[in-house]
């Protein structure tokens, strides 16, 4: 507690909170968003970092990623809680900066709880700092209670965060995007539409050329709403990412190919879809090439930031809300913006249901490999239907059962607390 007597020290823990996002999104959050879905699979044998169960729906409560996503998320929440519990008493250079930091911590906390509830369902809601041994009696908090907190946190963040861009930090629009996505998860499309409308009408963001979208040199472009920061050659090469190494084709950079695109998805790209250029074929395996090799000999020192939300995502979410709210023509407008950028013609979909499918398809094509598909399937309630159909086509014997829509809680946590395991595990 004595540590938090200066702005500098509080800032250090603010930074540590972002550092936790870096750890979370370096690997498993991306895989979790892609591998269980019909988008991608683990290609390289023996190089999946223990992620293979994501592909064949065989994860258990002791799978490494089940524990590490939990751990990193809650560490981030703990740091955010730490900052929030001390910052009031610390003298800051400016009160407005202090408020921005409060907004950032609420943003991150809301964001992490949204992820946690998506993955695990009910989870313990921790908002204060205490002796951890008091947590042995903790149980899971009902999702609805956490949703209320997510909404509060993100609404507060919207109030507190600036609308201007700030290097690597969220602004109010980022908070609106995350909140909108959360509303969509709860199928509150009115509230979601309202938030997204503000982003879209702000004129702050625009779609950039596909070839100016990814890559270290294009970071911070007009499409970047919120991204997690990685950088090469910094801090003893500890600030880079593993994306290139893990997700691209094996090559002299040491790529492992832990994630490859399903050929069925690849085939969905129209011949002249510019986004097809982001996929590389090698020996009949399709690798997503949205990432840059490490500039040095360390395989996990790639410089690419990770888009948590980019404008194309916002437009497609907005289209989805409009469609759900029966504004089908308006939905088409925003869907077409994304299609046109990819050198595709306007959508031919008509009617709410067709439009819904078209938007979902566009999200797959647009956001492939960026860690969205499985969570989209969960959000839209199409996960079981889609995946069981997929496996049937695939000829594989896997049947996805309903309990798989939630991850088990880490077994170690269930063992030492009063938390009950999710059914089926």
């Amino acid at each position: 507690e004595n540590y938090y007597s200066t702005q500098e020290n509080v800032e250090s823990t603010v930074t540590a909170t972002y550092n936790e996002l870096q750890a979370l999104y370096d690997y498993y959050m991306i895989l979790w968003g892609e591998i269980p879905s019909d988008n991608a699979y683990i290609q390289a044998p023996n190089s999946n970092g223990g992620a293979r169960p994501l592909e064949d729906f065989s994860w258990t409560s002791t799978s490494g990623f089940v524990g590490s996503i939990w751990e990193n998320s809650y560490e981030g929440i703990f740091y955010a809680n730490t900052v929030l519990s001390v910052i009031d008493d610390v003298l800051y250079d400016s009160e407005s900066l202090k408020n921005i930091r409060i907004g950032e911590m609420k943003f991150i906390r809301g964001f992490l709880y949204d992820n946690l509830t998506t993955i695990y369902g009910d989870v313990p809601l921790v908002l204060t700092i205490d002796d951890p041994t008091y947590a042995f009696d903790d149980a899971r908090t009902p999702k609805t209670e956490i949703y209320a907190q997510i909404e509060t946190d993100l609404l507060d963040a919207i109030e507190l965060l600036p609308s201007s861009n700030s290097a690597g930090r969220p602004n109010a629009y980022a908070a609106r995007a995350i909140l909108a996505k959360h509303y969509m998860k709860t199928r509150d499309f009115d509230k979601a539409e309202a938030q997204l409308q503000i982003i879209v009408s702000s004129g702050k963001y625009s779609l950039v050329d596909i070839d100016a979208l990814f890559g270290v040199e294009n970071e911070g472009n007009d499409e970047d709403v919120f991204s997690i920061q990685y950088a090469s050659n910094l801090d003893g090469m500890s600030e880079g990412s593993e994306y290139y190494y893990m997700f691209t084709q094996p090559d002299d950079q040491g790529g492992l190919g832990a994630m490859a695109m399903e050929s069925s998805l690849y085939e969905l790209y129209a011949a002249d879809d510019l986004r097809k250029g982001l996929v590389t074929e090698s020996s009949n395996v399709y690798y997503i090439n949205k990432w840059t090799p490490s500039p040095n000999n360390s395989t996990d020192d790639g410089g690419d930031n990770h888009f948590v939300v980019r404008y194309a995502d916002v437009l497609l979410l907005y289209a989805e809300c409009l469609n759900e709210n029966n504004k089908i023509a308006a939905a088409a407008t925003y869907l077409n913006m994304v299609r046109n950028r990819a050198n595709l013609d306007d959508t031919t979909a008509s009617g709410q249901s067709d439009m819904r499918s078209a938007i979902a398809m566009e999200r797959r094509l647009e956001l492939a490999g960026e860690g969205h598909r499985w969570f989209d399937l969960l959000r839209t309630g199409k996960a079981l239907e889609t995946m069981n159909a997929f496996f049937q086509n695939d000829g594989s014997k896997i049947t996805v059962e309903a309990y798989r829509l939630l991850s088990p809680l880490p077994q170690a946590e269930v063992d030492i607390t009063k938390m009950e395991q999710n059914p089926g595990y």
Partner: protein
């Protein structure tokens, strides 16, 4: 004389019947007898009328009637009769008949005993002897005098009308009346029902040394002191009744004149000459009055105070020489040449096919030999046995004979109201390792004075200043390395430490230059490095306390005391350009480097106590209530400096680049305590105590700990049913139960700590990140010691005492990391969850006053057993410590067992290898020259699972014994101490001396026993191999059944022969006493241990007890001394 012997009853008087005044009667008596009267006229109405109507036969009868009628009190003392008025109207007349008795009290040697107490039995009349042992007291002529003195048997002397007597006291060998300091008070050995063991000044003086902890070694049952002090002035590791913690410090609390020092404080601050007594409180019941600081026992030190009316000056001087006792038994140059040759040949033969040991250097290189497979060219003359070559003994160069001086003066005395003692001590000690020395100055001041009738005031003040030269215990390269450690063994005997042609006088680079072409050891000369560089420390400490006490009614003492401690240390290191850097020539070295650091500690202690002693019939009570507050703060600052332009200005100011680090910490404790001591008729003793400690070290949700205790004692020999006999003269049973705490858990363990390095690149710009890494633990508390103690004290023939104790101490709430729910943001939390048990027996036997002719003999012996068992690790199966899991701590076993392979043989031929491989697989290696490890689990695979427990460092038995002889003025005492059932892992032996890498020098045990198919086919140790160590060989560097060494020893700890000058000679020089003596410490050690010191096995981490690294030899000191007392 006659008159004195005559009683009032036998004095005749004759008075006519008739009317008198009182004055007339008194005049008559004075005229007729030798008696005269004294009185105050204001009290005695001389003119009052009194009529005599009977005839009196004796003066007694007359005075009796007078007393009855006039309410006079007659008090006869010798020839005078005092008259006073009886204040209360009483029916009974009062005539007291007393004698003025004078006499002298002498000790067993016929020397006067000052301060002895003389009391008339059954009364409160009494006095004490003056400095010459003289006393005067007025008592009833039929009284019996009780003459007592601490440490002596109380003597009953009937007066029988004598007015002058000489009383000789005998030493009380049972020491039952001996004052025992018990914390916030004193008691006597007889009344204690816990486990307290003591040493007095005389015993402390038998071991001549600057530090008192050395003097305790082997003397007290249950108190185990490792003689692992490194530099002069360093302390030893003290353990009372076994290891007290798994992960924390377990230092006993040391209380000096009521001031509790910080645990683990330097004991160099206390001059043993100032110590009057040491009392070690071992059981929890007696220690519980110190609550959360007492779990590891309490050592109470009482310094000397002034006594006797005359100013007394005591002088003590001792001078001696000290040297090492242990040895690494290193090879001389001719044998070392053979050893290096063998190691290099073996590597060459093994790594290349079809080669021979006689191949020349050119042939070897042509065959692809590595430089480590070439014969060191400069050893060829040694191999040819050319006489007169350099054969340098590095052990001799690193160790030296050191001069030790100790001088001490103490001035003491007392007046009616005040007693005082002041001392000054000076020690100048050259350590046995080069550059290690100290100059120490100590002072001690003690003053107690009465302020009027109700108040007392006193001061204790202890001062210490030392200038110390240190040797580094570490193995760092830049600053002075430990010359007596690895560096010495790295040096080859082919090179001398000295070189007259070099301006420094040292041969700095010779070994580096010679060995560089061969990639052999390129250690720098450690003698030069130590002598040319600097590692000095100045230490200053003063502590003490002041008290004021108030006694409003008899035996109720209210006392308030204020204590303080100030300590400051300054450490100064400098490494000049010439020194420092393994493998590098001077021209290739880094810059010179300096370092200065200072630390300061300040404590304050405020205590208030109320102590009330009272009797109700045969029931005696002593009640104590108290409150204590202590605060301690610590700061340190350290600066490293680099790039000094030259070596002239050797302080930080001369450096061009500096880095600094600083730390500060603080802790406070607030306590309340109470105790009741009760005894009935000297037969039954009960006591109970309770203390509540609030400590800043404890978690905020567990801030107060309460520690209680109970004890009971029964002196059977004071019972009427106990048969009077001369054999079993004393018998007592004791039992105690109590709880104490170990608060040595760190000042801030309850708080989360912050870890840095959680950085983040905002848009490519790095920001430093930091966040809490260890969990806060708001319920964190002390480690608890709950102990039961059973004791028996027996006395035989009034001369022999036997004390037996059995103890079981359950240490619970041990601090260990416990996994916590991760949704808190943490992985684990420090918790009070472990449990351990220590149990054992203690025997103390002593006897004295065995007289055979003029020879007086005494003896003492003690023996302690300790058995340690881990009951619970709070969920973890085992804890490992040390590289490659050298130590294992596991539930159901004792703490810190050595863990490794059992060696059952050596593979000596390809046939043996083939046969072995047909039976066993191994994850290690199986080549000629590899050890065969036991297949413990019998699965035919030799792997890490085959490791076994190889024993631990906790001795099963520690013991000591001694004998005292006195003949006329001569006295001789010898003391031994030893351990049994203990093993150790010595880094020097296992990794260098007997590892056979042919990279360092080796010892003769290895040299004589390594296998060679031709020259030593019976050898059982793996042959030297300079290059290409196998996996099995590397594994043998960790603990194995060969290199885990028996660390038992028996040591002749001290011998002292003294002579007390007879009084005739003393008088001639106006001396009170004079003793001259010769003394020897550590004269001889019997041990099988193959290292420098089997007592070095404590690194401060309980989980690797028995890991001996960087310890120096125990010194042997031969000295002569003189003690003088002047008045």
């Amino acid at each position: 004389n006659g008159a004195n012997a005559q009683s009032l009853r036998s004095t005749e008087i004759s008075l006519e019947r008739g009317s008198y005044t009182v004055r007339n009667i008194l005049n008559n008596v004075e005229d007729q007898t030798d008696f005269n009267f004294t009185y105050y006229e204001s009290e005695v109405d001389l003119g009052a009328a009194y009529s005599i109507d009977r005839t009196y036969d004796s003066l007694f009868d007359l005075l009796y009637d007078l007393s009855l009628e006039k309410h006079f009190r007659f008090n006869r003392i010798n020839k005078s009769i005092a008259i006073s008025k009886i204040q209360q109207k009483k029916k009974e007349p009062e005539i007291v008949e007393q004698l003025q008795v004078s006499g002298v009290v002498l000790d067993e040697n016929g020397q006067p005993l000052p301060g002895a107490t003389i009391v008339a039995k059954g009364s409160s009349i009494g006095t004490t002897t003056d400095f010459d042992g003289n006393f005067e007291v007025a008592v009833n002529s039929d009284a019996t005098l009780l003459v007592s003195y601490i440490g002596y048997l109380t003597k009953e002397v009937p007066v029988n009308g004598q007015t002058s007597m000489t009383i000789s006291l005998q030493l009380d060998t049972q020491k039952l009346q001996e004052v025992v300091v018990i914390g916030y008070g004193t008691s006597s050995k007889e009344k204690i029902s816990g486990a307290v063991t003591s040493m007095d000044q005389e015993e402390i003086q038998q071991y001549s040394n600057a530090n008192f902890d050395q003097a305790i070694v082997g003397k007290l049952a249950g108190v185990n002191i490792l003689t692992n002090a490194r530099n002069p002035g360093d302390g030893n590791t003290i353990t009372i009744r076994g290891a007290g913690s798994i992960t924390r410090d377990a230092n006993p609390l040391v209380v000096v004149d009521g001031f509790p020092l910080a645990e683990g404080s330097s004991l160099n601050v206390i001059n043993p000459n100032d110590i009057a007594s040491i009392d070690v409180i071992k059981d929890a019941a007696s220690a519980a009055i110190y609550g959360s600081r007492a779990a590891n026992g309490v050592i109470m030190i009482t310094t000397k105070k002034g006594k006797g009316k005359k100013l007394t000056v005591e002088l003590r001087s001792v001078m001696g020489l000290q040297e090492k006792t242990g040895s690494y038994d290193l090879l001389n140059a001719y044998d070392a040449a053979k050893f290096f040759r063998d190691g290099r040949n073996n590597a060459y033969l093994k790594n290349h096919g079809n080669v021979g040991v006689n191949d020349s250097e050119e042939q070897r290189i042509a065959n692809g030999a590595n430089v480590r497979e070439l014969i060191l060219d400069y050893t060829v003359p040694y191999l040819n046995n050319e006489p007169g070559l350099t054969d340098f003994d590095w052990e001799d160069a690193v160790y030296r004979t050191g001069l030790v001086q100790n001088h001490y003066v103490n001035i003491s005395g007392s007046t009616e109201a005040t007693n005082y003692a002041a001392s000054l001590g000076y020690t100048n000690e050259e350590g046995i390792v080069i550059t290690a020395d100290q100059k120490r100055y100590t002072t001690n001041l003690k003053l107690n004075t009465k302020l009027g009738k109700y108040f007392k005031f006193g001061i204790n003040l202890n001062g210490y200043y030392a200038e110390r030269g240190l040797t580094n215990g570490g193995n760092g390269y830049r600053f002075p390395i430990d010359p007596a450690g690895r560096a010495m063994v790295y040096m080859f005997p082919f090179f001398s430490a000295y070189d007259d042609t070099n301006p420094t006088g040292y041969n700095i680079e010779a070994q580096i230059l010679a060995n560089r072409p061969y990639n052999a050891n390129m250690q720098e000369n450690p003698v030069a490095m130590s002598e040319l560089s600097k590692y000095d420390r100045r230490e200053f400490r003063t502590f003490g306390n002041t008290y004021l006490s108030f006694e409003p009614i008899d035996n109720l003492v209210l006392k308030t005391s204020l204590g303080y401690l100030l300590e400051s240390k300054f450490t100064d290191q400098y490494a000049p350009m010439l020194t420092g850097s393994y493998r590098r020539l001077i021209s290739e070295r880094d810059s010179n480097q300096g370092s200065e650091s200072r630390s300061d500690q300040g404590d304050i202690l405020v205590e208030n106590t109320a102590n009330y002693t009272f009797d109700i019939g045969k029931h005696s009570f002593n009640a104590l209530l108290g409150q204590s507050f202590q605060k301690s703060s610590y700061t340190s600052l350290s600066v490293n400096g680099y790039d000094f332009p030259n070596d002239i200005i050797q302080n930080i100011d001369g450096s061009t680049e500096q880095t600094a680090s600083a730390s500060r910490s603080k802790w406070t404790q607030l306590s309340y305590f109470g105790r009741i001591l009760y005894d009935y008729d000297d037969r039954y003793f009960l006591s109970g105590s309770i203390r509540t400690d609030g400590s800043s070290r404890f978690g905020k949700d567990n801030r107060y700990g309460t520690f209680s205790s109970f004890s009971a004692g029964w002196v059977l020999s004071n019972e009427s049913f106990f048969p009077e006999n001369d054999i079993l003269t004393y018998a007592k049973l004791r039992y105690s139960w109590g709880q104490t705490g170990n608060n040595q858990i760190g000042n801030y363990a309850q708080y989360a700590s912050i870890s840095t390095g959680r950085d983040y690149p905002y848009d490519g710009t790095l920001s430093p990140g930091a966040a809490p890494s260890s969990a806060p633990s708001y319920s964190l508390g002390w480690e608890t010691n709950t102990s039961n103690n059973f004791g028996v004290d027996l006395g035989f023939f009034n001369k022999i005492n036997l004390g037996v104790d059995y103890y079981i101490a359950d240490i619970s709430d041990l601090l260990l990391d416990r996994p916590v729910p991760k949704h808190t943001g943490f992985n684990s939390s420090l918790q009070n969850i472990g449990e351990m048990r220590n149990k054992g027996w203690e025997f103390e036997l002593n006897g004295s006053n065995f007289n055979i002719g003029g020879l007086s003999l005494g003896f003492n012996a003690n023996l302690t057993t300790n058995e340690n068992e881990i009951i619970s690790l709070g969920g973890a199966d085992e804890l490992y410590e040390g590289g490659n899991q050298r130590f294992i701590t596991r539930e159901g076993e004792s703490l810190a067992n050595l863990y490794g392979y059992k060696i059952i043989g050596l593979l000596k031929s390809e046939e043996e290898v083939a046969e072995y491989k047909s039976r066993k697989n191994t994850t290690l290696s199986a080549e000629v020259g590899d050890y065969i490890f036991q297949d413990t689990d019998g699965n035919d695979i030799i792997d890490a699972d085959d490791r076994v427990l190889l024993g631990d460092y906790n001795p099963e038995v520690t013991y000591g014994f001694g004998i005292d002889l006195a003949y006329k003025g001569f006295d001789l005492n010898l003391n031994f101490n030893g351990t049994m059932g203990r093993v150790a892992y010595d880094l020097m032996t296992s990794n260098y001396l007997e590892y056979g890498e042919a990279f360092t020098n080796t010892n003769y045990n290895y040299f004589n026993n390594y296998w060679d198919p031709v020259s030593n086919p019976e050898g059982y140790l793996a042959p030297p191999d300079a290059y290409g160590n196998t996996a099995t060989r590397k594994a043998s560097r960790n603990p194995t059944s060969y290199n885990v060494l028996d660390a038992d020893y028996l040591r002749l700890r001290s011998v002292q022969l003294g002579y007390n000058l007879p009084s005739g000679v003393l008088d001639q020089f106006h001396l009170q006493a004079m003793r001259v003596y010769v003394s020897a410490n550590n004269l001889h050690t019997w041990t099988k241990y193959r290292g420098m010191n089997p007592d070095g096995g404590y690194t401060g981490n309980p989980l690797d007890r028995g890991y001996i690294q960087g310890t120096t030899s125990v010194p042997r000191l031969i000295s002569v001394g003189i003690n003088l007392t002047l008045q």
